[in-house]
């Protein structure tokens, strides 16, 4: 779905991403993790087509920089790390914005689609509420519902997979909603779409992600199947602190326990 080679991005004269090679496949949930400021958000924005880059970056075999905004909008949805809404739109207004992308225009079933998306993120009945008066987690789920309206299916009718780019989708959510949102992302991947999610919680990552990319200082340190990447040595190298990886007995899912610094 996405192929990058020697991907390099500079912002304000600083090299923020340095020669990154990666490959994102449809049907997989790929997580990106790493310390603050390691370039996760920048990488996601680059994959979204927002930033000028050097090196090769192809989406579905085509150079990303050549895709038009409306073409991209039909192929991929993006959940930003934070969003600032300038006017007191209702929740339904915000979610409905996702419906009009990709030249879809007015839909007679808009209200039903908005309602369904809100149901999926656990915000049933929030449609008429003022977005600016929601809690941080509710706002984040509203934005996620907007993305779901923009990319409603993991695979288009012609069989081409769709892509979700999620920057810390569960950062300000309670544990139940973390699981729900990750399950939606997981289902999207299982239905044949591609999901790239920036994650901080390594245990949640181990539970949901097929692949894990670990970043540090703008470089991709390691990538591979999550279980292979989540090891004591690799995590200590990336995060610079002592971490102990164990496995949950029944499924063999790794879990990470922080060790005291001393």
């Amino acid at each position: 779905m996405i192929e990058a080679q020697g991907l390099t991005v500079s912002l304000a004269g600083r090299t923020v991403l340095q020669s990154i090679d990666l490959s994102i496949s449809a049907g997989r949930l790929t997580a990106i993790a790493g310390p603050n400021g390691s370039g996760k958000s920048t990488l996601l924005k680059t994959l979204a087509g927002e930033l000028r880059h050097t090196g090769r970056l192809d989406l579905m075999g085509e150079p990303l920089s050549r895709c038009q905004p409306e073409t991209l909008a039909a192929l991929r949805g993006v959940l930003p790390q934070s969003s600032e809404v300038a006017f007191p739109f209702t929740v339904a207004d915000i979610v409905g914005l996702g419906l009009e992308t990709g030249g879809a225009g007015y839909r007679s079933d808009a209200a039903a689609r908005i309602g369904a998306a809100l149901d999926r993120v656990g915000l049933s009945g929030f449609g008429p509420r003022n977005y600016l008066e929601l809690s941080g987690g509710e706002q984040q789920r509203t934005q996620f519902a907007r993305v779901l309206c923009q990319i409603p299916k993991a695979v288009a009718e012609d069989g081409t997979p769709r892509l979700l780019l999620l920057d810390e989708p569960v950062a300000s959510l309670d544990i139940r909603h973390q699981l729900e949102i990750m399950s939606i992302a997981r289902n999207f991947a299982e239905e044949g779409g591609a999901v790239v999610a920036v994650m901080h919680d390594l245990n949640l990552t181990a539970l949901f992600a097929d692949e894990l990319l670990l970043m540090r200082d703008g470089r991709l340190v390691v990538s591979g199947p999550t279980a292979a990447v989540v090891t004591d040595a690799i995590l200590e190298k990336v995060y610079g602190c002592r971490l102990r990886v164990n496995a949950v007995p029944p499924a063999g899912v790794p879990f990470v326990l922080a060790q005291c610094a001393g």
């Binding site: 979204a48 905004p69 409306e70 993006v78 969003s83 449609g127 008429p128 139940r176 949901f208």
Partner: protein, 365 residues
């Protein structure tokens, strides 16, 4: 994963409260259309001469009147009042739509063509055209005729809106302080250049300038109105096509791009639309303040910020407000006339202050 299907046991979120605005929305446009028509009809009948709408209808029917009274009424109504009232409506609508578009573009409810200096820039264009038009354009100036003033105001508005956008926004964020302070700077520059140009002006130009800068709707005629419409209508006509882009832009430039908006095209079209509508309005009326901030704000309070309804509704409300203000200006001190700018400033100034106070938190940056 089974977790997604495990939600049945969770209890629901508390029920959301209804929002009256969303339900009002479908009623507001027809309502405003009705108010607009009524205020235009009312305003045509109001003024120093007591020609009524009924007498106009009679005039058309040629019924029950002496020929002289009939002619006088027809002249008062058709040649003086009707163009003036229509112009008042169009100026109000242009300023309100420009205000709403600017607020969407700058992502800020305090943007307004008057306060941010776009009107100043347009005036500068008009002043330059009045005083230097002959010198700069030679024989082209008379050829352009009534079109010269709105055209020059359009280019002045274009330059100032573009400058303002470059100065006040950085990485998709607008600084309110810079937005409003640039307005002060642009107004100062306009004042200085106008003062300088007055030195260069001859008597006829000075008379033209004074006449124009009085900023009233009094000097309307059909040809002036027609010329201004050539600039104004394209500006107003593109506004509805900006609605979806401005809605998306409310979520920030990145999010708008993610949703397939061509940002560059949106910005350029918005700036051109504001320059055309404001420029033509300024050329006609010399710049009337606060309509661009009051009308969009009232509509947002009534039906919310969705630009698909906001832009046409603010246009209708701005038009109706200005027509009513003009009726008041013509009657409060009859047979004399108050400058309409005094009325809009008296009502709009405190309103602006109120919006400033409501947005105090945002301003403290």
């Amino acid at each position: 994963m089974t977790l997604a299907n495990d939600r049945v046991g969770f209890d629901r979120e508390p029920a959301a409260q209804g929002n009256a605005g969303a339900r009002l929305a479908p009623l507001v446009l027809p309502l405003l259309l009705g108010i607009s028509i009524v205020s235009v009809a009312f305003s045509v009948t109001v003024g120093a001469s007591d020609a009524s709408l009924l007498s106009l209808l009679k005039a058309f029917a040629g019924y029950g009147m002496e020929a002289t009274a009939l002619d006088r009424d027809r002249i008062v109504l058709l040649e003086l009042r009707l163009p003036r009232v229509l112009m008042g409506f169009l100026v109000g609508a242009s300023l309100a739509v420009s205000g709403a578009v600017m607020q969407g573009l700058f992502r800020n409810p305090l943007a307004d063509p008057g306060l941010t200096g776009v009107s100043s820039g347009a005036s500068l264009g008009a002043v330059v055209a009045i005083i230097l038009g002959d010198r700069l354009l030679g024989t082209l100036a008379p050829a352009l005729g009534s079109l010269l003033l709105p055209l020059a105001a359009f280019f002045g508005g274009l330059a100032s809106t573009w400058l303002l956008y470059r100065v006040a926004t950085e990485g998709g964020r607008t600084s309110v302080a810079i937005l409003l302070l640039s307005g002060i700077a642009l107004a100062a520059v306009t004042g200085a250049v106008t003062g300088f140009l007055i030195f260069l002006a001859d008597d006829r130009q000075l008379r033209d300038l004074t006449f124009w800068s009085m900023g009233s709707l009094a000097a309307t005629s059909w040809p002036k109105l027609a010329a201004a419409l050539l600039i104004m209508l394209p500006g107003l006509a593109v506004a509805p096509f900006l609605a979806r882009g401005l809605n998306a832009l409310a979520l920030g430039e990145s999010a708008a791009f993610h949703m397939g908006i061509r940002l560059q095209r949106l910005k350029i079209t918005a700036i051109a639309s504001v320059a055309a509508a404001t420029g033509a309005a300024v050329a006609l009326s010399g710049g009337i303040g606060f309509v661009g901030i009051v009308a969009p704000h009232l509509i947002r309070m009534a039906i919310g910020p969705d630009h698909r309804q906001l832009l046409p509704a603010a246009g209708l409300l701005g038009g109706a407000l200005l027509v009513l203000a003009d009726s008041a200006a013509r009657t409060l001190a009859a047979p004399a006339e108050l400058p309409i700018g005094i009325l809009t400033a008296a009502a709009g100034g405190p309103f602006f202050l109120w919006i400033l106070l409501k947005n105090r938190a945002r301003l403290a940056v």
